[in-house]
């Protein structure tokens, strides 16, 4: 029994200090948090920067989610029968699931209001929705249900024509249910929304708004996107209107290189980390009141955003100037995914499993157990996982995190083959597992489009097929993959940059552009 207590205590302590920040979106998807569920958009909230992440890893206090966050907000309303753009403020007070609980509840408050001093004749929304979120965890998934207490749901909408619609909250209903799947590198989520709202105050009698839709989103260390596909049906005594609105909010981090103007400077330019935000919505009208016959059947609105940035580390890579992977390697050092003295990272040399996994863990910002605890507490005794991964090695905790997350496994004999060169198929497999996208490959995958498909190990076949489908890898000029060939440092850097680039932009397009641009 003593043993169990010890393990429980140990794991418990690990859990506390491995608690990811919001940056590690793996733990806390942003479902509806910065958009609400009414078809609107906000500027979103930027992901933590590199410096901020490091400060928080060193034990700084996390932001208090209970503090109100105020964001610019846009929403298109159709209660008058015509699309009218509302420009105002979204104020959020959001709780979050307890990371140590299997089930529980928390609340999220959304308040929408016009800007202070806004013209009273403009379209305006005053809305208060307090969501009670019930959640439970099953494996890697969190299942959430958002409900609104009618007693606290208030909504008043004024149209440009001067009509004021007031929500009959006692008759109105709302529910949202979300499924989140937390994979090592990305937290994916999908939700369904259903609402029935009754508005009074129109000469056309009670206006009934039926809303049904889906939410698609993901959060990673490099980007977060949430896109809604909401179908609305508005009916009153005189007309009916149906439309689909597809709002989308994305925040991501990209790198921009800044070269130096002075000649006599100790470093050769550096990357800046740029925090971008994209917010826009597109709508299509299907059934419209006849008086709207000459209005366009579709439209879009966006929200102007402002990029912020920070400087990143400038490594000395002069020894590899002109190397085709120079930029890839530079970027990884700048992001501190590769650390240490760059001259030890010789491009043409092979990379070991331990080195690659460490870089991968950093690339996807896997939460790792800290060596020293905040505020000088006693260090935690590490749990040895493999006989060849010495706990004194600096990579130890990254390997531990990689294995805990299921990204990689040990080899026979209780070893990790830590210091063995990693093969292409091993590296590709871990990348797909980090993305949590193995599932989209055919099971079983028995053949791939690569000419040397038969050389691919059975365990790697599916992930390699997925990587190919996602465009993360491609065959050489002869159609080969060379799955068993060891990869060099330079190739590893390229592969990791592809992964990060996919997380920054590729996956964003799948969740934003591809959904917003199509009507289903």
């Amino acid at each position: 029994m003593k043993k169990f207590l010890l393990i429980a205590l140990l794991l418990g302590v690990m859990a506390i200090f491995a608690t990811p920040m919001e940056a590690n979106a793996q733990s806390n998807a942003r479902t509806g948090r910065y958009m609400g569920f009414s078809g609107g958009i906000s500027e979103g909230r930027r992901l933590p920067g590199t410096t901020e992440t490091i400060i928080m890893e060193q034990g700084a206090r996390r932001p208090n989610n209970r503090n109100a966050i105020t964001l610019e907000y846009r929403e298109v309303i159709f209660l008058s029968g015509r699309p009218e753009l509302f420009e105002g403020i979204l104020e959020i007070r959001a709780g979050a699931p307890d990371p140590n609980s299997q089930a529980g509840t928390f609340t999220i408050e959304h308040r929408v209001r016009p800007h202070a001093g806004a013209d009273a004749s403009e379209t305006s929304i005053n809305r208060t929705m307090i969501f009670t979120v019930s959640y439970r965890r099953v494996g890697s998934q969190i299942l959430k249900t958002y409900e609104v207490n009618p007693a606290t749901w208030r909504e008043t909408i004024s149209t440009a024509a001067g009509d004021t619609f007031t929500l009959d909250h006692a008759r109105s209903s709302f529910v949202t249910a979300i499924i989140e799947d937390q994979t090592p590198g990305v937290s994916y989520y999908r939700g369904n929304v259903s609402a029935r709202m009754f508005f009074t105050g129109s000469a056309n009698g009670t206006t009934i708004v039926e809303q049904v839709g889906t939410i698609n989103g993901f959060t990673s260390a490099w980007s977060a996107t949430e896109t809604h596909r909401m179908d609305f049906a508005i009916t009153n005594d005189n007309w009916a209107l149906t439309y689909q609105i597809r709002p989308s909010v994305t925040v991501n981090k990209v790198l921009q290189f800044e070269s130096n103007e002075p000649f006599a400077i100790s470093f050769e330019g550096n990357f800046m980390e740029l925090h971008q935000s994209f917010a826009g919505l597109r709508y299509d009208i299907f059934i419209r009141p006849q008086f709207m016959w000459d209005e366009p059947l579709f439209g879009s609105h966006s929200l102007e955003t402002f990029n912020v940035f920070e400087q990143l580390f400038a490594p000395d890579l002069s020894f590899m100037r002109g190397h085709p992977a120079e930029d890839d390697i530079h970027r990884l050092f700048a992001m501190e995914i590769l650390t240490g003295e760059p001259q030890f990272f010789i491009p043409e040399q092979g990379i070991t499993r331990g080195q690659f996994m460490t870089a991968l863990a950093r690339a996807i910002k896997l939460p790792v157990q800290e060596v020293t605890q905040p505020r000088g507490r006693t260090a935690i005794e590490p749990v040895v996982l493999f006989n060849d991964v010495n706990s004194d090695r600096p990579e130890f905790r990254y390997i531990q995190a990689i294995v805990d997350a299921g990204v990689a496994e040990g080899r026979e004999g209780g070893s990790f083959h830590f210091d063995y060169l990693i093969s292409r198929q091993e590296a590709i497999t871990t990348i797909i597992r980090a993305l949590g996208l193995t599932n989209i490959g055919l099971n079983p995958t028995v053949v791939t489009p690569f000419v040397d498909s038969n050389d691919i190990a059975s365990w790697a076949m599916r992930d390699i097929s997925v990587a190919n489908t996602l465009g993360l890898i491609s065959p050489d000029i002869n159609g080969n993959l060379h799955p068993n060939r060891a990869i060099s440092n330079a190739e590893a850097a390229t592969l990791l940059n592809h992964l990060i680039d996919y997380l920054r932009e590729g996956i964003v397009r799948d969740y934003a552009d591809h959904i917003v641009n199509t009507v289903v």
């Binding site: 079983p444 498909s453 934003a512």
Partner: protein, 1013 residues
């Protein structure tokens, strides 16, 4: 210096020696040996090396039991080796027996101290005669022997002639003299053993005995001395000694030394208690070496990881200091392995061992290799997982329950407080493992090191794989199975149950197994023809013919792709489509017309696809063999506008706002029907898109190039702006050094790869990679200009097109407007006109025949105040429309618009001087609400069919668009907001032309307005 060098060499040699010893690989079946925490680490002892040397007896008995007992006694320093021979058959002397007893009781240090205290008195006597004095004195002090016996023994030892001192011929005892060198009797030994142990702990033998016999069971019990009877009874009950035969105890017989060793080993339990020793069992799973090297103080270690019988891990450590100082002895333990006395380094992976450790000092004293660790596999039904005890209980085929302990890493309590089992190398909740079903269990030394799920017997064999060929004509299906083997099967199409799940099917089929619910409707039931390469299939085969499929179910393998349609060619029945995906790769697809093309959520004809459209396509992917892939388009969803070109901008590069991803344009103007318009002195445009293309004079360049060399160049820049949902953003930034010249829009007469001819424009117009070519709002390639496109072209430089904007040619003839008098109304269904006039530009052609037009929900009824309700269009009551005249926009026999508006007839029906209704033509230069301001205004004279300019100096006027005005632009009826500055319009009013004076400022309410260009 010499000394230091010597030390280094010595250390190196020592390390080299240890490293030559084989370090084995781990036992594969216990992969967690290094993952589980080490419960205890035990190091060797300094005295072990000497013991190992001393215990190399050359005369050990053959019996394993005797040999082991002797070596164990030696390792624990109960038996002190005195020579190379153990003399196993020599009887134990009294002094030896007493010494063994005291050492076993842990009192050897006291005895040695007493002996040393007497050393001065014993000078001159050989050590082999007086070594026992300390033991004898201690024995006397604690009552094992009497004072007389001690004195007597001392006297014998000190008075006997030294020359006669021969162990082979001991001097016979002379009563009552107590000669310690004579052989001890069995009852004496019993007595001394009990005495020695009880001297340390009074009630040590009071623990209930579990075996053994009573002395009264021996026939010679009466010969036992009353002095020893109690002790004999004790040793018998505790199985320390037995009878010499089953019936005789033989109390006065002597005991050979080898038997004495065994008697001592029977005392282990009591001995260990007194010595603070513990006995453990386990298996050597892994050995590894480690060394630490520094000049003068180096170490080499052999680490031996032992899986204990309870599943935990012990670590035994041999240390070889690499120093030459006297303290630099190895820390080792006596190991008895295969009948040989060796050290810890001789332990091998797979050795099953029993070992004695001293927890207080963290040392290992003795290791006995009892055999080889057995590895076994067991298949059983899992019944119980007991996390607290660390055991799993299975039942075998005879339903016998068998419980095995697990190795430590197999189980535990997770951070969530839930028990877990390590299963297929992943920690899973213990509750998730199905009970009552079969598992393969790997046992290493009876410990579970791994389990594998087996499940229950297969009752309906199924085969699973990927289809690479299906030939329904031949009844043949070829698959690649899970083991990558190509396998062919046959079937009889008519006798086959087939199901297929399409990619869009809802995943809620219940009762999918046909033979269980044959009457149920299953939407997935289909014919074998539906199964195509790439499908994932699961099928059953005939029990008598394993190559014949009897039922098959499949799901298609689809992936999603997104990209731009570069080429589209209607081939009649199918179309070819070249797509460029977001990663720049391209692929041709041949798509049958049956494939659904969706636009804004509705299925549309494939010929609605336009080059430059973006689309999300669903593709069925089949990899038929390595390197051979076939993709079949299953669905096309056209992009609803996110990639459409929303504007084309021209200006001068003014700079970049790098961090905000903006390009700043001086004198920015937008291409409109009125030419370059909407001037802005300085405007910023977003360039944050992922694939912005930059060109300089038709040559592709990088953003860096533009930033460094062109941003202050004053060159003209053209931007193609995309309608991204998060705001407009540039997709093409084309910078040119020439002067911009917008030429009038016209029809393309002919085109080749990089030039085209425009009607009324002399010479060929060149295009290059930097030419922005937009067709119907889609960005297309330069070779997509073709006759008879209607294009608006901006030139830059000598006949080089910077922008080619292709749009539908202005035309209004596609919209049919009639005017008729209502004869009959069928509410919500149709109406009839008695006769009608058909609008034909500037005249109405009368058709004296009645005609019926259908009404549907899309028919708009418009009055002077705008849209009216369909229900007001009735043929009875005060508001009856019978006899009223309406303008009607018709589409075949369907009424699209029914408009109550005045008659507008440019051509007079009346005799001169009538000139018809006021009809004007002009170019829009401003729009204020419904008031449209025109320049170049002309007025039509219906009598002369001439257009008269309003004024030669200020030919302006306004027309007012009414709610019931029909506006036609490019063959579409549009609203007021469809009008744009720059358009040339023809507007018809109902005012009498005769009452209008040609002067600036003519106004008119118009009811038909045609956009001409």
């Amino acid at each position: 210096m010499m000394k230091k060098k010597f030390l280094t060499q010595a250390v190196s040699l020592a390390l080299a020696t240890i490293m030559l010893l084989p370090a084995s690989v781990a036992v594969a079946q216990d992969e967690l040996i290094h993952i589980d925490p080490v419960s205890n680490t035990y190091t060797g002892r300094p005295q072990a090396a000497q013991l190992i040397t001393q215990l190399q007896f050359t005369d050990l008995p053959a019996g394993e039991g005797f040999r082991e007992a002797i070596i164990r006694g030696g390792a624990l320093e109960v038996i002190h080796p005195e020579a190379a021979q153990f003399r196993p058959n020599a009887p134990v002397s009294r002094e030896e027996a007493i010494a063994f007893a005291l050492r076993a009781a842990g009192r050897s240090d006291e005895a040695r101290a007493l002996g040393e205290a007497m050393a001065d008195d014993l000078q001159g006597l050989p050590l082999n005669r007086v070594w026992n004095f300390g033991y004898m004195q201690l024995a006397q002090q604690i009552g094992m022997i009497t004072a007389d016996q001690f004195t007597s023994a001392q006297t014998v030892a000190t008075t006997q002639p030294i020359d006669n001192d021969d162990e082979e011929a001991p001097v016979p005892p002379i009563a009552p003299v107590f000669d310690s060198t004579v052989s001890a009797t069995r009852q004496e030994i019993a007595s001394w053993l009990v005495g020695a142990f009880e001297s340390v702990e009074d009630d040590i033998f009071d623990v209930p005995a579990t075996a053994g016999v009573s002395l009264q069971s021996f026939t010679d019990w009466g010969t036992i001395s009353p002095i020893h009877a109690s002790a004999v009874e004790t040793v018998l009950r505790h199985n320390i000694m037995n009878g010499q035969t089953p019936t005789n105890f033989a109390p006065n017989s002597t005991v050979p030394r080898q038997e004495m060793a065994q008697i001592i080993s029977h005392l282990d339990g009591f001995h260990f208690e007194l010595m603070g020793l513990e006995r453990a069992m386990g298996a050597v799973i892994d050995t590894s070496n480690e060394q630490f090297i520094q000049t003068g103080a180096s170490y080499a270690w052999r680490h031996i990881h032992v899986r204990r019988a309870d599943g935990s891990v012990d670590h035994l450590q041999f240390t070889l200091p690499g120093t030459a100082s006297p303290q630099g002895v190895p820390l080792d333990a006596v190991v008895f392995r295969n009948g040989e006395v060796v050290g810890l380094t001789a332990l091998q992976t797979g050795d099953q061992i029993e070992y004695l450790v001293h927890p207080e000092t963290g040392t290992v004293w003795y290791v006995r290799v009892t055999g080889t660790t057995s590895t076994a596999n067991f298949r059983g039904r899992l019944q119980i997982i007991n996390i607290e005890n660390g055991t799993m209980t299975f039942t075998d085929n005879t339903n016998t329950a068998i419980t095995f302990p697990m190795i430590e890493g197999m189980y535990g309590i997770g951070a969530d407080g839930q028990p877990f089992i390590r299963f297929t190398n992943i920690l899973r909740p213990a509750s998730s493992l199905p009970r009552g079903t079969y598992y393969d269990v790997t046992l290493v030394g009876n410990l579970i090191t791994d389990i594998t799920f087996v499940g229950d017997p297969v009752v309906t064999p199924e085969i699973r794989g990927i289809v690479i060929d299906n030939n329904a004509m031949l009844g043949s299906l070829t698959i690649l199975d899970e083991n990558r083997q190509e396998r062919s099967f046959n079937y009889i199409p008519g006798a086959l149950m087939v199901q297929r799940r399409e990619f869009f099917d809802m995943r809620d089929t219940i009762g999918g197994i046909h033979e269980m619910f044959p009457g149920n409707f299953n939407p997935r039931e289909t014919s074998i023809n539906a199964i195509i390469p790439g499908d994932l299939v699961v099928f059953r085969v005939d029990s008598e013919d394993p190559t014949r499929i009897t039922a098959i179910s499949s799901a298609e393998n689809i992936i999603q792709r997104y990209g731009r349609i570069l080429e589209f060619r209607d081939q009649g029945g199918f179309f070819d489509m070249l797509m460029e995906f977001e990663n720049g790769q391209t692929a041709w697809f041949s798509v049958p017309n049956q494939v659904l093309v969706m636009d804004r959520g509705r299925p549309v004809n494939p010929n609605q696809i336009q080059m430059g459209d973006w689309a999300r396509i669903i593709v069925n992917q089949a990899v038929l063999a390595p390197g051979v892939m076939m993709e079949t388009v299953r669905e096309i969803s056209l992009d609803s506008g996110g990639h459409h070109i929303s504007s084309i901008v021209m200006g001068r590069v003014a700079g970049f706002h790098h961090a905000q991803n903006l390009i700043q344009i001086e004198h920015a103007q937008e291409l409109t029907p009125a030419g370059w318009s909407n001037h802005s002195p300085l405007a910023s445009f977003n360039i944050s898109g992922p694939n912005v293309r930059y060109y300089h004079d038709g040559r592709a360049v990088s953003l860096a190039h533009v930033q460094r060399y062109l941003q202050r160049s004053g060159a003209t820049v053209y931007l193609a702006m995309e309608n991204h949902h998060a705001g407009e953003r540039a997709v093409v930034v084309s910078i040119r050094s020439g002067r911009d010249e917008l030429i009038r829009a016209g029809t393309v007469l002919g085109a080749s790869a990089n030039e085209f001819h425009l009607l009324e424009i002399p010479g060929a117009i060149q295009t290059d990679a930097g030419t922005i070519v937009v067709r119907n709002g889609r960005l297309v390639e330069q070779n997509h200009i073709s006759a008879p496109d209607w294009a608006r072209v901006a030139l830059n430089g000598h006949n080089t097109a910077a922008v080619v904007n292709i749009e539908p040619a202005p035309a209004t003839s596609g919209v049919q407007i009639i005017r008729g008098r209502i004869d009959r109304v069928e509410p919500n269904q149709s109406f009839r006109v008695t006769a009608m006039s058909i609008f034909d530009g500037l005249r109405w052609n009368f058709a004296p025949i009645g005609r019926e037009f259908a009404i549907d929900h899309d028919t708009l009824f418009i009055g002077e105040n705008g849209v009216t309700n369909m229900t007001d269009f009735i043929g009875w009551g005060e508001n009856s429309v019978i006899g009223d005249v309406f303008n009607v926009v018709v589409d075949g026999s369907r009424a699209v618009r029914v408009i109550d508006a005045p008659f507008t007839n440019p051509t007079p029906d009346l005799p001169p001087p009538a000139q018809g209704h006021l009809t004007v033509r002009g170019t829009i230069y401003a729009i204020n609400g419904s008031t449209v301001h025109l320049r170049d205004m002309h007025v039509f004279n219906g009598r002369t069919a001439q257009w008269n300019i309003v004024s030669n100096t200020n030919a302006t006027g306004t027309v007012t668009v009414q709610p019931n005005t029909i506006i036609v632009d490019r063959n579409q009826v549009v609203g007021t907001n469809g009008l744009q500055v720059g358009q040339q319009i023809l507007a018809l009013s109902s005012d009498n032309r005769l009452g209008v004076t040609l002067e600036p400022g003519i106004t008119a309410d118009v009811y038909i307005l045609l956009v001409e260009s």
